[in-house]
């Protein structure tokens, strides 16, 4: 560009190249994007922080309460239980799809008859709308009239209460999550498997490595970055899970499936406590950012 070349003055004398300030010239180009970022990300965040320091009710007034909402939150047993339930639900809703998704990817990476059809069938659940999926599962879970207990009875297994019992509700909700999201993990890992080089496997074969040794010492380390990506996506998705839980149980029986999202939704849109709900958002967001940062740090370590 001309900015880096010497130019001549009208008199012919050489002058020093002028340093041009491109930022000043092109700043207008980033204004639209900047406005969007400020309008849809920054402003809502600042406003949420502002609301979280107020006793703010829809249809009522709002008064400044400082950090009272946060203090109340950390002594609110219902919230603390919802945090524990969220962690319990997330742990299971990440672990099982990860294990099953990786296993499915390894299977679908091999050639066998009708593999394409089998893959298509396997990823079908992922394409379904969560609310529709939840409604269908709700019918299947009905303790007396649902198809699941009928199936159990065909094998002489006693009926389960599924989502209609406090002890089984979260594992049952995890079952729906596993069915719905294992295909996503499979797709990510399958993509990773397709990109692996074949040379290390040939070398290992020459050296006499068994299939299990090849998997453990070659496949898994090479696949690790893809697994971590799947893990991050699945963890954030599981933490955010709302639609399925709300449609199937609305947080019940009692509060036994009330996760942070359900608690937050009720505070904000059923009790209209927008100030308190905003404090929940801030705390929950911090948790997600913390967890995501941890996973990203893990990914960097894996890559290194």
């Amino acid at each position: 560009m001309s900015g880096n070349t010497a130019t001549l003055s009208p008199a012919g004398a050489a002058i020093a190249p002028r340093r041009r300030n491109y930022a000043r010239k092109y700043w207008m180009f980033i204004v639209p994007a900047g406005v969007v970022v400020v309008g849809v990300i920054l402003f809502p965040w600042l406003f949420t922080l502002f609301m979280s320091t107020h006793d703010w009710k829809i249809g009522g007034g709002h008064t400044f309460v400082g950090l009272d909402n946060y203090r109340k939150l950390f002594t609110d047993e219902r919230f603390l239980w919802s945090v524990l339930r969220t962690l319990y639900f997330t742990a299971m809703a990440v672990f099982f799809p990860m294990v099953l998704g990786v296993a499915a990817a390894l299977i679908f990476n091999h050639k066998f008859p009708l593999r394409g059809l089998a893959r298509t069938l396997f990823i079908l659940p992922m394409m379904a709308t969560p609310v529709a999926v939840a409604l269908v599962w709700t019918m299947m879970f009905h303790p007396q009239l649902g198809v699941l207990n009928w199936l159990l009875s065909q094998f002489g297994i006693p009926p389960s209460m599924w989502v209609y019992d406090a002890r089984t509700v979260i594992p049952t909700l995890v079952l729906v999550e596993v069915w719905h999201w294992t295909p996503l993990v499979m797709l990510i890992v399958l993509g990773g498997l397709a990109s692996l080089p074949i040379d290390p496997y040939e070398a290992a074969k020459i050296d006499g490595a068994s299939p299990l040794q090849s998997f453990w010492h070659i496949t898994l380390p090479l696949l690790a970055p893809f697994i971590v990506v799947a893990l991050i996506i699945r963890t954030i998705d599981a933490l955010k899970a709302f639609d399925t839980i709300y449609v199937i149980t609305q947080g019940g029986p009692g509060t036994s499936s009330e996760t942070i999202n359900i608690f937050l939704y009720l505070q904000g849109f059923a009790y209209y406590n927008m100030g308190y709900a905003s404090a929940v958002v801030v705390v929950f967001f911090s948790m997600i950012v913390g967890l995501a940062s941890l996973l990203l740090w893990t990914r960097k370590r894996v890559k290194a």
Binding site: I58, G59, H142, Q144, W162, P253, T255, F269, Y272
Partner: protein
């Protein structure tokens, strides 16, 4: 207090007495014209339910009658409550007419003055059709629509009365009579329960929040009846409240299907429709699907009775929805015409005879012609008429009513797992009392 207080009743009665006279006087002076707002438009937001579906089927009649173009939406109840609250709070709601669950949102809407006071417009003869006879509305529903400051910011659209549904075949098979008291109900339900055949004596709401209205049906039979006292203090851990909780617990634990703790009305309806339960206490609006032979195994075998009596009283829990006009609306005239059309005798009679719900106007209940033409058995109408006579609000008229339902509802759900009723109600009452006190201070 949840009951219709003397003051509220007097206020409602005064409105009832004054309004027809005002309308009559005004009508004598100025002619009403349905075409007055021809060419204008009105936006209506309704809750998705059989009543709204019925209105949607006949919206063309309104457009032909008035020449007003109608934009209408139906949204599921929970989402509708959020939508209208947020839109009202924004100051620029997208709708002119709004459908409000008065048993949930009355005080919120009234406190924020989101809806316009209808009394002046009712008194304006050029704006109010002679057909809109306020005296024809039930006094209980008018009291529901009247705010504490006397403003009539909605007109009642429909009422929901809790009744006792029963399966005639199951009762006949075991020679069980229709119960008239809660003790008889328990004994009868116990007799009908045969778990080996997946047959249960009773089914009812067990899901947190939804279950409170079943418990309050028992409470209404006690001397206490209500959930807050005259000083607006919470009384949900008293001996009467505990008695109601114990009735709820024993019926649901001993006579209802396993898993009932997760049942809302839809699971109850499915169970009852399949002929698996002998009795079901719930709103009157479920008669239509239960009597539909394409969907229900109990169609034609369905019995209707008034909710049984408790040790001191016999009441039917009732709930009410209303139609209001947004204070921010620039189309109040067309909006008022829509409300008048919805509440005309023809639409209210349709609601009754199709089983879509219970109208708030009283004349349909005495329309022998309409009742005879209906496909519902006469017992349905007599039960409804008797329930109206003994109706009493099934929820307290407080601002944080959803939080109340969640807190007490969690306690009730816990009792279905065997928890002690008194301890659970005490814990829930202690948890909710400061919330109520805080809201009453701000109200």
């Amino acid at each position: 207090m949840s009951e219709i207080t003397r003051r509220t009743a007097l206020r409602g009665a005064a409105g009832l007495l004054a309004a027809p006279a005002l309308v009559e006087r005004a009508n004598a002076q100025s002619a009403f014209d349905w075409k007055r707002f021809k060419g204008e438009r009105v936006e209506v937001s309704l809750v998705a339910n059989p009543r709204s579906t019925l209105l949607f089927q006949h919206h063309k009649e309104f457009e032909e009658l008035t020449g007003i173009r109608l934009g209408a939406e139906q949204i599921p109840e929970q989402q509708h409550r959020q939508k209208f609250a947020i839109e009202f709070a924004s100051g620029k709601p997208s709708f002119d007419v709004i459908n409000i669950s008065l048993h949930v949102n009355k005080r919120q809407v009234g406190g924020a003055k989101w809806c316009t006071d209808l009394r002046p417009i009712i008194a304006d003869a050029s704006m109010t059709a002679p057909d809109l006879d306020i005296g024809d509305f039930g006094p209980g529903s008018i009291a529901y629509s009247t705010q504490a400051d006397g403003r009539l910011d909605t007109l009642p659209l429909d009422v929901d009365h809790f009744i006792l549904y029963y399966n005639k075949d199951l009762l006949a098979a075991k020679n069980v009579a229709v119960p008239t008291t809660f003790d008889e109900l328990y004994t009868a339900a116990k007799t009908l329960t045969d778990t080996s055949k997946q047959q249960f004596g009773f089914v009812g709401r067990g899901l947190r929040n939804a279950n409170v209205v079943l418990w309050s049906s028992f409470l209404l039979g006690t001397a206490q009846r209500d959930m807050i006292d005259g000083n607006r203090r919470l009384i949900t851990d008293t001996p009467d409240a505990i008695w109601a909780g114990q009735q709820y617990q024993r019926l649901m634990r001993e006579c209802a299907p396993p898993g009932v703790t997760g049942f809302n009305w839809n699971e109850c309806q499915t169970t009852f429709m399949q002929g698996r339960a002998g009795f079901w206490i719930d709103g009157v609006g479920y008669a239509a699907p239960l009597e539909d032979p394409k969907r229900s195994r109990v169609a034609g075998k369905l019995g209707y009775a008034v909710v049984p009596a408790g040790p001191a009283h016999r009441h039917s829990a009732f709930f009410c929805t209303g139609l209001g006009i947004s204070e921010a609306s620039a189309r109040k005239g067309p909006a008022w015409f829509y409300i008048q059309w919805v509440l005309n005798k023809q639409n209210q009679t349709r609601m009754l005879t199709t089983g879509a719900g219970a109208p708030t106007r009283l004349s349909p209940y005495s329309s022998e012609e309409a009742i005879s033409a209906s496909t519902f058995p006469r017992e349905y109408f007599t039960t409804l008429a008797e329930s109206i006579r003994i109706a009493r609000p099934g929820l307290p008229e407080i601002l944080p009513v959803t939080e109340f339902r969640d807190t007490i509802g969690t306690a009730l759900a816990n009792t279905l797992s065997g928890a002690d009723v008194a301890a659970e109600l005490k814990r829930a009452t202690d948890a909710f009392r400061p919330i109520l006190e805080q809201s009453e201070k701000g109200a």
